[in-house]
């Protein structure tokens, strides 16, 4: 029998068992939709990581104390100057980090602040929305001025950020004049992100807020291909300059590795979700197998008749296998469509999902594989029936 006619008979059989077909297909629909969405969410996640880190210079090297809490031999501004002298390092600057209460008008918030040098702006690809950034005069004169992130500005002004410009911000009971507001940056891997942070001159942070508790980290910027050499230089300088513990008491991290790590986290997440989807499909495959077994039992007498009028083993096998594949493929197509329909819904819940052709293909491939794999045994059993046993079956 020709494939076309076999397919026709299969479609007639499926058509006359609509409910059964639908129930069988349900698992495949869910499984395929899940796979499609997982692939889409995985892509979305990766895109988000890339987006978040796009503002982070991959040549950035962070040097920080290895221990939390009070440090006996902290990094200094001078360390940063020595780093900058290395030919492998374009720029190096110390950063002081602290947190405290920030008050403006009726609003207050606990937020972190950074004491920084003007070079910080460029090094972190930050851009100014309103006003200006900190400059060298602020630094040398220890001016009590601040530039704040877009998120923090909105928070303190109840959604009217420009209002805070040139006004006084109360930071740990010290008054700082807000001279600039940053554009919204998105999180860049720092614990709190730039958007919810205030930036003040390094010298001012040291003098007015931290005093002897000042325990800076240093960011050094190198070219991507000199990062490793720069890390070497930093280690050497630290060993020479911090005689008590040398470089051992500091952690040296480069942003490139962090990006890779974040990407891998996103990928691991997708894989995890994907494995869930595969489990769903396996379960639905067992469902298909069950239904196919029942179908074979139901139609045993018919199979006997078909064999009596000349159906070959492979034609019976083909018929039942095609039935399983058609059912699962139909489920797959429906699943992909439902998955596609869920993308805007996910967007509503702020989950970025990027549909892709590969997602469609992977989904369909899995659904058809499920159909073939779990449909094969019942189909083979049907084909292998002795014609006389099949005919006698009641």
């Amino acid at each position: 029998m020709k494939l076309k006619q076999l397919l026709k008979i299969v479609l007639i059989n499926i058509y006359h068992n609509k409910m059964r077909t639908f129930l069988t297909t349900l698992g495949v629909i869910v499984g395929t939709a899940t796979i499609f969405l997982v692939v889409a969410i995985g892509r979305g996640g990766e895109a988000q990581v890339n987006e978040q880190y796009s503002r982070l210079n991959v040549g950035t090297i962070m040097v920080m104390p290895a221990q939390r809490g009070r440090v006996l031999d902290p990094l200094t501004k001078e360390d940063a100057e020595l780093f900058q002298a290395s030919q492998n390092i374009k720029m190096a600057f110390p950063i002081l980090n602290g947190s405290g209460s920030m008050k403006y008008g009726n609003y207050s918030s606990n937020a972190s602040y950074y004491g920084i040098l003007p070079a910080y702006l460029e090094a972190n690809n930050l851009t100014i929305n309103q006003g200006r950034f900190l400059d060298d005069t602020d630094e040398s004169k220890r001016e009590r001025v601040a530039v704040i992130g877009a998120g923090l500005a909105e928070l303190l002004t109840d959604g009217n950020p420009t209002e805070i410009l040139d006004k006084t911000l109360d930071l740990n009971r010290r008054k700082f004049v807000v001279v600039g507001i940053l554009n919204r940056m998105g999180d860049s891997g720092s614990p709190q992100g730039f958007d919810d942070t205030a930036f003040i001159p390094y010298s001012a942070a040291e003098r007015y807020l931290l005093g002897t508790r000042a325990n800076p980290t240093i960011n050094a910027i190198a070219e991507v291909n000199t990062v490793q050499a720069a890390i070497q230089d930093i280690t050497t300088i630290l060993n020479a300059n911090h005689l008590r513990g040398g470089s051992e008491q500091f952690r040296i991290l480069d942003a490139g590795s962090r990006l890779v790590a974040a990407q891998e986290t996103a990928r691991t997440m997708s894989l995890l979700l994907l494995s869930v989807a595969v489990v769903v499909l396996i379960v639905s495959g067992i469902g298909i197998m069950n239904v196919m077994f029942v179908t074979v039992k139901e139609r045993t007498k018919e199979i006997g008749t078909l064999k009596a009028i000349g159906a070959k083993k492979r034609e019976i096998l083909g018929q039942f296998l095609i039935e399983a594949v058609v059912i699962s493929l139909a489920g797959g197509i429906l699943g992909v469509m439902i998955g596609g329909g869920m993308v805007p819904l996910l967007k509503y819940f702020e989950i970025l999902a990027i549909p892709s052709l590969s997602g469609v293909l992977i989904g369909l491939l899995f659904s058809v594989t499920t159909g073939v794999f779990f449909g094969f045994y019942p189909a083979w059993q049907a084909a292998d029936l002795n014609p006389i046993d099949a005919l006698r079956y009641e």
Partner: protein
């Protein structure tokens, strides 16, 4: 017996033994039978006589334990699975007691099936099937499904399916077993007519009245054949 014609069935010393866990059942015991072209033979026997088993062996649905069987010159015992399927498709038309029509296919589709399994193009198969159904008075029932047809009509569809591929042998297993007396008569008349047109027919039955309508009767009892009852 017409000894000048072509020999359709030549079965020699057929033995069929069923192995049960407790005993060996010899259902067919040294049966030899010859059927020539255009014969119309009844195999008559009570239930349990082995007539169904004989029909299955003659119909190539089951293989004998011992013996030789040539169907239209083909050595059945040497045939493989696929070849047996081809033989059933090309050489035999089955008419079943319970019609055995496929419930989800129309009368026309049911009759087309043997041709499709033979590889005939769909359009051609449809034309031939239509013709056979019209011949049997079902020209206006082509698209009906079996459950929309009476028993007599279903049996006529089943006969149409049996003859659609012009097989050299028609095997009818209790063809009137599930029919009322009028439909039974019709069915027998159809078989007689087909025989007149040159078809070779074997009817397996327990019913003397059916057997009387054929040209030749052989009796089967306890797995053995005899010419006398």
């Amino acid at each position: 017996m017409n000894n000048n014609g072509r020999c359709i069935i030549d079965a020699r010393n057929i033995v069929k033994i069923y192995q049960t866990p407790y005993e060996e059942l010899k259902v067919l015991d040294d049966i030899s039978i010859k059927v020539m072209e255009n014969d119309f033979t009844a195999i008559l026997g009570p239930s349990g006589s082995g007539k169904s088993t004989l029909m299955n062996v003659l119909g190539c649905l089951d293989l004998p334990t011992m013996g030789e069987y040539f169907l239209d010159g083909v050595d059945i015992l040497k045939a493989k699975d696929d070849q047996l399927a081809d033989i059933r498709n090309n050489k035999i038309g089955f008419v079943f007691q319970k019609f055995n029509l496929l419930p989800r296919l129309s009368a026309l589709q049911n009759v087309m099936l043997p041709l499709l399994y033979r590889g005939v193009e769909e359009d051609e198969a449809r034309e031939i099937a239509k013709e056979k159904l019209s011949l049997l008075g079902l020209g206006d029932r082509l698209t009906h499904r079996p459950n929309e047809l009476s028993g007599g009509q279903q049996q006529r569809v089943s006969i149409a399916r049996a003859i659609v591929g012009n097989p050299p042998l028609l095997l009818a297993d209790e063809p009137t077993g599930n029919l009322d007396s009028k439909s039974s008569k019709d069915a027998i008349e159809i078989l007689k007519e087909l025989n007149k047109e040159g078809n070779t027919i074997i009817v397996i039955t327990h019913d003397n009245e059916v057997a009387e309508q054929t040209k030749k009767v052989v009796f089967i009892r306890d797995g053995r054949l005899s010419q006398e009852g």
